[in-house]
Symmetry: D2
Subunit: 396 residues, 4 copies
């Protein structure tokens, strides 16, 4: 990094790998960054597939063993896009090797693993080695604007947070038993996969954290056809069925330390909702509403505006004054899902170049894991309330 460049090695090349690659390719073309990222190598177990991915995604070299990737001198940052059960081992090794780490969410499949990762991150931080967990929705401009408006006091004291993350991709009972439906690989179902995002996003927006939760989980379809191969979302079956060992849906509510109530729902069984993240916040002075299906909009209610012309204002978050938008197109020209990753990479590179710690940290990732674990515990205990560990309130 002495010459203003940073070598990046990425592990994994499916959905998240493709999204991260577009971000690594694009960030420097839109943002003025102190570091120039080089897409040094991509790592996967299958050499031929990985080489094809490298060609497609723009990586210069290929590794088939993540330990080799970490060991390379021309790589200073490891971007972990592999499944959750691999995060802890890779991240800890990379940090120990002095490599910065960007780790996709969820940070890990268990709280215990996440705690080890935090310990490794804290140790590394003392040596200037930095780490970040990839809650990309924080970088959707409307979400970042929501946080700013709350921080500016525009909503007053926060009373209510309600958030839903709704999908429908396994609504068909014949959809096969892919790895995301197996606890040993995925750790969790809807709760960990998408519930994690709304826990992080709402805590980020209100600048506060959950103090306790009560939850309920459900697996609607308990048995599914075995997939024809172990890879991905292929719908074919090799015959026979297996048990679904993760949740299809999770509902929970909680209290934030500041007194707000939170209501959460994550499901893969909401027909017609493909990737619907809906967040509302009500405060003593105003309210906010966001829907990812209209991700360039934020709706703001200013309770101090008087009744004649009061109401929710639909802010088209495309103005140069809005977070991240100065880098993009004139007002009114929308951006998309992938830009949240471009912003994430741009912020990460800015932090690394400026020698500051990026956010969200591994500690933030651990805290989200603790919330999810408390939901699972509550669900197992007749939905009884579970207090969360006392943590420093969100400072970022």
């Amino acid at each position: 990094m002495a010459d203003g460049t940073i070598g990046v090695g990425m592990i994994g090349y499916s959905f998240m790998g493709a999204a991260h690659s577009q971000a690594w390719r694009s960030a420097g073309h839109f943002f003025d960054l102190p570091l120039d990222a080089r897409m040094t190598a991509i790592c996967g177990r299958d050499r031929a597939a990985t080489e094809a991915a490298a060609a497609k995604l723009g990586w210069h070299d290929v590794e088939t063993d993540w330990r080799e990737l970490i060991a390379r001198d021309d790589i200073q940052l490891i971007d972990i896009c592999s499944p959750g059960d691999t995060h802890a081992e890779i991240a800890i090794a990379a940090l120990a090797a002095g490599k910065h780490v960007l780790c996709e969410k969820p940070l890990a499949n268990t709280v215990a693993e996440a705690e080890l990762m935090v310990a490794a991150a804290q140790e590394a931080r003392r040596h200037g080695v930095r780490s970040m967990v990839g809650f990309n929705y924080r970088r959707v401009p409307a979400v970042a604007l929501a946080r700013k408006l709350v921080a500016d006091g525009r909503l007053g004291e926060i009373r209510h947070v309600r958030a839903q993350y709704l999908q429908d991709w396994i609504i068909d009972p014949q959809f096969p038993l892919v790895w995301r439906l197996q606890a040993e690989r995925a750790g969790s179902g809807a709760l960990g996969d998408i519930g994690a995002h709304i826990v992080d996003a709402t805590q980020f927006i209100v600048g506060d954290r959950l103090a306790g939760v009560s939850g309920l989980t459900e697996t609607f379809v308990k048995e599914r056809p075995l997939p024809s191969s172990s890879s991905g979302l292929s719908a074919g079956s090799r015959g026979g069925t297996g048990a679904v060992t993760v949740d299809d849906a999770a509902l929970f509510f909680g209290r934030f330390h500041g007194g707000a109530l939170g209501s959460f729902e994550a499901t893969r069984f909401a027909g017609g909702r493909k990737n619907a993240i809906r967040i509302e916040v009500n405060g003593s002075l105003g309210s906010l509403a966001f829907d990812f299906e209209a991700m360039n909009e934020l709706h703001l209610y200013d309770g101090t505006a008087g009744t004649e012309t009061g109401g929710f204002t639909r802010i088209l978050v495309t103005e140069p004054e809005h977070p991240y938008l100065r880098a993009w197109w004139p007002a009114g020209h929308l951006i998309g899902y992938e830009h949240s990753f471009t912003h994430e990479i741009a912020d990460l590179l800015a932090d690394l170049g400026n020698h500051t710690d990026p956010s969200p940290s591994f500690e933030d990732g651990l805290q989200v894991q603790q919330v999810l674990a408390a939901v699972v515990e509550s669900a197992a205990a007749g939905s009884h309330w579970q207090d969360l560990p006392a943590v420093t309130r969100n400072a970022a």
Copy 2:
């Protein structure tokens, strides 16, 4: 009217008759009015049908000759809900007999008839006999609020008005040749029936009038099955077809005296749009948008609010501070189409009781007819521009 009551006689008992009856029955229960309306008699040619309507709609007595209705001593106001080709004769006779008149829109089927009606209204006005034309959409609270915001200067100088009135009830070519599709009865098609409403509503909102127009009309389905009977919208056919002699759709644009441009479209061939009135106004300081399919809402853009939180505010027009709403339910409880008539009747009774002229006047109705006639002339002249008569700008 000496005793604080006013006897009402209504002519016609189909769609408009039913809507007006609900308004006559309801206005006094919600508004504090100086006059108590008595639903004295309803008039139709078929005695049995009219008696049934009287029973259903709440009228005390029945007449089968409108001249008898006008002649009654216990009636001081004539409410004309019969087809447009009857308006002039009835209204002129009623006014001459010293009866106040509420006349449904369009005021008449031709400008010439409307001019005679205006002359009669002006003569009657000198004797304290008052008249009103029924552009009920002015009394939708969101429309009334729109006018108020423009009058308050919230939009600055008006630049653009765009309005559409979209329906689809004759989209099926087998829909029969009902009287509304015959020029000799209806006078006009989409242009006079629904185009009239958006001409009036936009002029009302911006407080200005069209100075000239250019137009285009079209009859998509030129021949239709003859209806099985002469009554109403019945879809049966008695065999044979006849020529459609009115327009199915009309497009026109124009300039307002104050310099704003207006764009208008009225059609009965917009599939899926049942009664869609959409109005937008852009001014130098802000904009307004209204859609009758969400008639309890008005969208306001305040161009002076700054870009961070600027945007269109969705005003739920249900607050006691909003026009007409104090009479109704708590905030957030919607009202419907029929309430525009209740407001119309309440305003009319207030004006009569207070000895002031109601609005819109017959002069207003004539001016709308002149606009429609100019559109027809323009359409017949290669869409060439037609200047409108110089009129006093809208003072109401």
Copy 3:
């Protein structure tokens, strides 16, 4: 009722009294009903105020003692619009006197009272005396259509129900301690007042009932200024403050007998949401969404339609084929909040005339009370799960 008429006596004349009166006045003008309702007398403690109300609302006579009202020979139906703490005594007495009863929701302030009322209703039913509880939102056409579509199997097996009832009228901490904020009068806060509606409406739509719940309640503002008078929502204060003894907000989730998960939220602290009832239902074949702020719309997702043109269809529920709509205006002409009461009265009169039991019954009202009580119990027990009494599943 021998002559085809029925005498009605109503108790209470504020918000609900006004809404019911408009319904009593209007139902017969739009629906063909076997009974003609006479608005015989209205009852309130203050004679002058009640006489003013009678004049305003269209009641022929006045009583100041509800026992006198019940005793009148010319009254066959008692409509109870007084506060919840009066419901049980009046309803039980009226039923014992052989009078049909329409009782506003909530049925009672406690489960114990509601059980007594059910016993009285069951006894009366054996003598042809009928009773109904006023969950008016069932009669919003879009809600009735939702129920029909579920019953028709269009959604398949129900997986998720999520419902919110959001208001903001006490968000200001200086809003006084009106009776609705006092447990001894109101019984409950947001939970009983508005939570009751979404429990009933969702159970009605899915045709199933909650089997158990876990809940959380909160009182954000614990002390408020004493009101200047005991009457209504007046904002003045007579000095001093008092404790708020009901909930400001309630969150709960539950399971339906058929396996669906339900998520519920009721609050009076959602700034900018005036009367927002939002209901979504997800099934194995499709989904439904409703928002009372657009009460003439229902959104339907048909999961069998294929991906190219699949999505939520915005049904404008104004067609003659839709529930209740044949009585009203042409397609595209909206109706409002009050029409839900007109439909309720029309259905009630039809049932009485046809000698069938109206719905929702007192048993239905009791079951809703049981759900609310279970939420309160759960909230008091660390949100621990509370099973609900086994009841016959909703047959209506």
Copy 4:
């Protein structure tokens, strides 16, 4: 191109240059293309600025004379992103030199120039040299889907097209007299800049062309401060004012050859509308609606679906089955404005690799210019109807 690569030279590096560059960089990473584009050189008059742009946008080399760019052996395609008054000369020279050309819209500032360009394109086409005009909105997936649905007959016979392109960036009278407001540079104002897009997009969607038009144009602010420099949109002024010589807004309506009516409006004075392209199409069997502010959605009304559940279906155009979407993210993950250019480049490279002519052609661009010219002529002739040249109906 023998080796499967194609060298690209781009002229211009402001808004369009940046958008095209992102497309050139990205297309090959998402689409399987027969040609690999090399971003060989970028051309601008100011060497330092052009070098900075090359570094920022990812171009390998720099030219300061477009003739030099065309002359390079390592370039086979010229991408023209410079202002409209330069298009004709560059494009004709490039085609004559055997270089494929992608030319931003409008094709030229005048019909005469456009005709020369078409002649050059036709001559070049005979030698396998291809050309395309950059109406990028055709490649918004929802717009492409709209065209497909019309072509599939889902809308039946087209009756109405209505389109608006609304912006507000010069609403402030103090906004300076930038080159886009000067006729000699820009050729046209709102009409040519944004009106051109809705003419092309609607003709593309309905697969038909305008046969005649009637129009009106307006310049609301006739004098503006001179800009402090000649470059771009800078708001500073060097003192003094100058005349605005282009239109601020244009309204027009027309008839398509197939009988549909079209209504169009383009303005830069619609406060709060930043880049609002709204298109509706009504046919005998159904309707479509699109709004660029929600560019990932298309609303379809199927008039054959019956009234109980009929209505506009909001299609979230993010499914793999939708145009262009298989290349991107899972369903429900939105794309943005820039992707329309990525699709344009991908289609262009596919056509060049497959030796087919890309679309829209220069002929298509000329035809749009003819429409715009006819609007101007009509506006100058009292809005009198102007027939358009008989052209082959849109076959693409």
